[in-house]
C-alpha cells in the first residue's frame, strides 16, 4: 500500500491532478466563508449582486479580481459558487457509475452463460446512446438538480461503457489461477465474487470513475449552457449568460467571465483526467518500468 502511494506521488501527472482537485475543494469551502466575512452580498451575490461603481462588464480590478459579467456580477464569486454543484455532479456521477459498472461487470464475468448474454446486450444497447445526449434530452423537459443529473448520467454510463470495460477485466481475472485455488480450497460462489473478483476490479473501477467525471462535468456544463438545469449557478450558465448578452443585445463580450468559467470547467474535468492517467501509469507495470 505504501509503495503504491509513493508510486502515485511519484507520477507528476497525478500530483498536478490531486493539487487541482484540492484547490477546487478549497474553492467550494471558501465561497460561503468569503460571503459571510469580506464580501457584502449586495455586490458579491453570485446571482443578484451588482456593483454600481463599475460599468458592466468591468475588466479585472482590485475589487473584482476577475472583473464583472454583462449583468454586473462579480465573476470570481460566481466561479467559486459554481464549484459546489460541480462537485455534487462529479461525486454522484462517479459513485453511481462505479457501483453499477463493478456490480454488472463482475456478475457478468462471474456467471457467464445467459446472465452474461442478457447483461452484455443491455450494455451494448446503452453504448449506442451517448450519456451526455440522453441527459440533455431529459434536462430539456425536466428541471434537473445536480443530484438527479449525476444520478442519471451515472446510470447510463455505468450500465453501458463502464460495465463493458469492467466485464472485460473481470473475464481476465476469472481466468487467473488464484480464483481456481480459492474454489478448490472450498470458497463458495459468493465468497469468490466478493472477496476475490471485486477487489481485483477495484483499481480499474477507480480509474473509470475518474474518467466518467470528465464526461459528467462537460455534459452538465452543456445542459446549463442551454439553461436546462435547476442550478442557475454553474460554469456552463456563466458562459451562457456571457454569450447570450453578446449575441442578443449586443453587449460587450465579457471575456473574463467566459474565459474564467470555461477554464474552471476544463481544469476541473482535466484534474480528474490527470489523476486517472497517473493512476493508470501506476497500475500498468509496463508503463511504470520506465
Amino acid at each position: 500500500m505504501g509503495r503504491t502511494l509513493r508510486a502515485i506521488l511519484g507520477s507528476p501527472t497525478a500530483v498536478v491532478g490531486f493539487a487541482l482537485i484540492i484547490l477546487f475543494g478549497l474553492a467550494a469551502i471558501a465561497h460561503p466563508i468569503l460571503m459571510k466575512t469580506v464580501w457584502p452580498s449586495k455586490v458579491y451575490d453570485p446571482l443578484t449582486g451588482y456593483d454600481f461603481s463599475a460599468l458592466p462588464p468591468a475588466p479585472p480590478s482590485s475589487a473584482h479580481l476577475l472583473g464583472t459579467d454583462s449583468l454586473g456580477r462579480d465573476v470570481l464569486s460566481m466561479i467559486l459558487a459554481a464549484t459546489r454543484p460541480a462537485w455534487v455532479v462529479a461525486l454522484v456521477a462517479a459513485t453511481t457509475t462505479g457501483i453499477l459498472a463493478t456490480l454488472i461487470g463482475a456478475i457478468g464475468a462471474f456467471f457467464r452463460g445467459w446472465v452474461d448474454g442478457v447483461l452484455s446486450h443491455v450494455s451494448d444497447a446503452f453504448l449506442l446512446l451517448p450519456a451526455p445526449i440522453f441527459v440533455l434530452i431529459i434536462s430539456e423537459a425536466v428541471e434537473l438538480s445536480p443530484w438527479k443529473f449525476g444520478l442519471i448520467f451515472g446510470l447510463i454510463n455505468g450500465l453501458g461503457a463502464g460495465a463493458i470495460v469492467l466485464r472485460a477485466q473481470g473475464l481476465k481475472v476469472m481466468a487467473e489461477p488464484f480464483i481456481e485455488a480459492a474454489r478448490v480450497s472450498g470458497g463458495g460462489g459468493f465468497h469468490v465474487l466478493t472477496k476475490h473478483l471485486i477487489p481485483q476490479l477495484l483499481p480499474l473501477t477507480v480509474l473509470y470513475m475518474m474518467l466518467s467525471v470528465v464526461g459528467a462535468i462537460v455534459a452538465h456544463g452543456f445542459a446549463a449552457f442551454f439553461g436546462q438545469t435547476e442550478s442557475l449557478i454553474s460554469w456552463g450558465a456563466i458562459v451562457f449568460f456571457g454569450v447570450t448578452a453578446y449575441r442578443s443585445f449586443g453587449a460587450a463580450v465579457p471575456w473574463t467571465a467566459l474565459i474564467a468559467a470555461s477554464a474552471a470547467l476544463s481544469l476541473f474535468a482535466g484534474a480528474f483526467y490527470l489523476v486517472s492517467s497517473g493512476l493508470q501509469e501506476v497500475l500498468d507495470p509496463r508503463l511504470r518500468a520506465r
Binding site: H121, V122, D124, A125, F126, L127, L128, L129, P130, A131, P132, I133, F134, L136, I137, I138, E140, A141, V142, I152, G160, A161, I164, V165, V214, G215, V218, A219, G221, F222, F225, F226, W235, G236, V239, F240, V243, V253, L258, A261, S262, L265, S266, L267, A269, G270, Y273, L274, S277, Q280, D284, R286, L287, A289, R290
Partner: protein, 378 residues
C-alpha cells in the same frame, strides 16, 4: 472472419432493438406529459382524454412500443406530430452531420495518432507539452470553443465565401443538402477507391506501401475535387467546405486529444519490447522504428478505443453542431425535444443508434483485418 462479422452484426441488431425499447420507456417515464398535455390550455379534460383514446396514447407502454416498432419496420423514418413527413429533413440533417463527422474524425485520427507517436516516443519537453495541450483541448468546454471560432473566424469565412465563389453559386437552383449528400458519397468512394488501387499497386510493385498517410489524404482530396470539377459542382462544394470548416475544425480540435493520449500510452507500452530494441540496434533510423515498427503495433489500442468512444465522439459532434448552428441531426434532435415531437425524437435517437452501429462495424472490420487475434479462435 465472415462468421465473426455476421455474429457482430446480429448482436448489433439485437442491441438496437433493446436500445429502442429502453429509449422508448425512458423517454416516456422521464419526460412528463405527452403530445396532448398542452391541449388542456384550450380544451376540457374530457376532450383531451377522448383525443388520447383516439390516438391510442391511453394504452399501456409496451403496446405502444410494439405499435411504434411495427410502424417503423413497415414505414421507416418520417413520422412527426407536426403532420408533415419528416423523412426528407432527417436525411438532409444526416448528410450534413456525416460530412462533418467523416472529415473531422479522419483529420483528428491522422493528427492525433501522428502527434501521439511523437509524444510517446520523445518523453521530456516535446512529449510533455503535446500531452498538456491535448488534455486542454480534450476537456475544453465545447460551446466556448464554438463561440471562439464563430467570433474570430465567422465573418472571415463569410467574406471568403463571397470573394471566392459568391458570383458562381446560386443556392436557389441547387439545394445545399443534395450537394452535401453527393460530397459524402464522393468522399467515401474516393477513399475506398484510392486505398484499393494503392494496395493493388503496392502488391504489383512488391512494396510494403506506396504513399504515406498524408499522401493518401492528398490523393483522396485530389480525386474528389477532380470529380466535382468534372461534374461542374466545384464552386458549390467549395462554398459548402467554407461553411463546414468551422464545425469540422471545432470537432477535430475536440476529438484529436483522445487519439493522441491513447497512442502515447500505447507507444510507451511497446517501446520496451524486444523487437524495438532489435530494430534500433540494427541501425534502423529512429523515425522508421517509431512509425513502422512501434506505431504499427501500437495502433490496436487506438482502434479499440475508437470503438468504445464513438458515442462520446458523437455527443461532441451534437454539442458542436448546436453551438455553431450547423443544421445536422443534433440541431434536429434539440428542436424536436423542445416541441415534444416524440416520434421525431425517437427517429433521431434510432438514427444515432444505427449510425453508431454502422461506424462500429466499419471499425471492427478494420480491427479484424489488422489483427487476426480478434476473430480467430485461440
Amino acid at each position: 472472419m465472415g462468421k465473426y462479422l455476421l455474429r457482430r452484426t446480429v448482436s448489433g441488431v439485437v442491441a438496437l432493438v433493446v436500445f429502442t425499447a429502453v429509449m422508448f420507456f425512458l423517454v416516456d417515464v422521464l419526460i412528463p406529459g405527452d403530445y396532448f398535455t398542452p391541449f388542456r390550455l384550450g380544451m376540457r379534460a374530457e376532450e383531451v382524454d377522448a383525443l388520447r383514446v383516439q390516438y391510442g396514447l391511453d394504452r399501456p407502454i409496451y403496446i405502444r412500443y410494439v405499435f411504434w416498432l411495427k410502424n417503423f419496420v413497415f414505414h421507416g423514418f418520417g413520422q412527426s406530430t407536426t403532420g408533415f413527413n419528416s423523412r426528407a429533413p432527417l436525411m438532409d440533417a444526416l448528410s450534413a452531420t456525416l460530412l462533418v463527422f467523416v472529415v473531422g474524425l479522419g483529420l483528428a485520427y491522422l493528427f492525433g495518432s501522428w502527434l501521439g507517436r511523437i509524444a510517446g516516443w520523445k518523453r521530456g519537453g516535446v512529449g510533455r507539452s503535446l500531452t498538456f495541450v491535448s488534455i486542454i483541448t480534450y476537456t475544453i468546454f465545447p460551446p466556448f470553443l464554438g463561440f471562439l471560432m464563430l467570433y474570430f473566424l465567422g465573418s472571415k469565412t463569410a467574406d471568403l465565401r463571397q470573394q471566392l465563389v459568391g458570383a458562381s453559386v446560386d443556392w436557389q437552383v441547387v439545394s445545399e443538402t443534395s450537394v452535401m449528400a453527393r460530397m459524402n458519397l464522393t468522399i467515401i468512394f474516393a477513399t475506398a477507391g484510392v486505398l484499393v488501387v494503392l494496395a493493388l499497386a503496392a502488391r504489383a510493385f512488391g512494396k510494403r506501401r506506396l504513399l504515406s498517410p498524408l499522401g493518401k489524404v492528398i490523393a483522396i482530396a485530389a480525386v474528389s475535387f477532380g470529380w466535382w470539377a468534372y461534374k461542374g459542382i466545384l464552386p458549390y462544394t467549395i462554398d459548402v467546405w467554407l461553411q463546414a470548416a468551422i464545425p469540422i475544425v471545432a470537432f477535430g480540435i475536440l476529438s484529436y486529444g483522445d487519439f493522441l493520449l491513447v497512442m502515447r500510452t500505447s507507444i510507451s507500452g511497446v517501446m520496451n519490447d524486444d523487437y524495438v530494441a532489435t530494430a534500433i540496434a540494427k541501425g534502423v533510423p529512429n523515425r522508421v522504428v517509431r512509425d513502422r515498427h512501434a506505431g504499427r503495433n501500437a495502433i490496436f489500442p487506438v482502434l479499440g478505443r475508437l470503438i468504445v468512444s464513438i458515442p462520446y465522439l458523437l455527443s461532441g459532434l451534437v454539442i458542436i453542431e448546436q453551438s455553431v448552428g450547423w443544421g445536422g441531426i443534433g440541431t434536429t434532435l434539440f428542436a424536436a425535444v423542445t416541441s415534444q415531437d416524440l416520434p421525431v425524437v425517437m427517429d433521431v435517437l434510432l438514427l444515432i443508434g444505427i449510425f453508431t452501429l454502422v461506424v462500429r462495424l466499419v471499425f471492427e472490420v478494420a480491427q479484424a483485418a489488422l489483427d487476426p487475434r480478434v476473430w480467430k479462435p485461440a
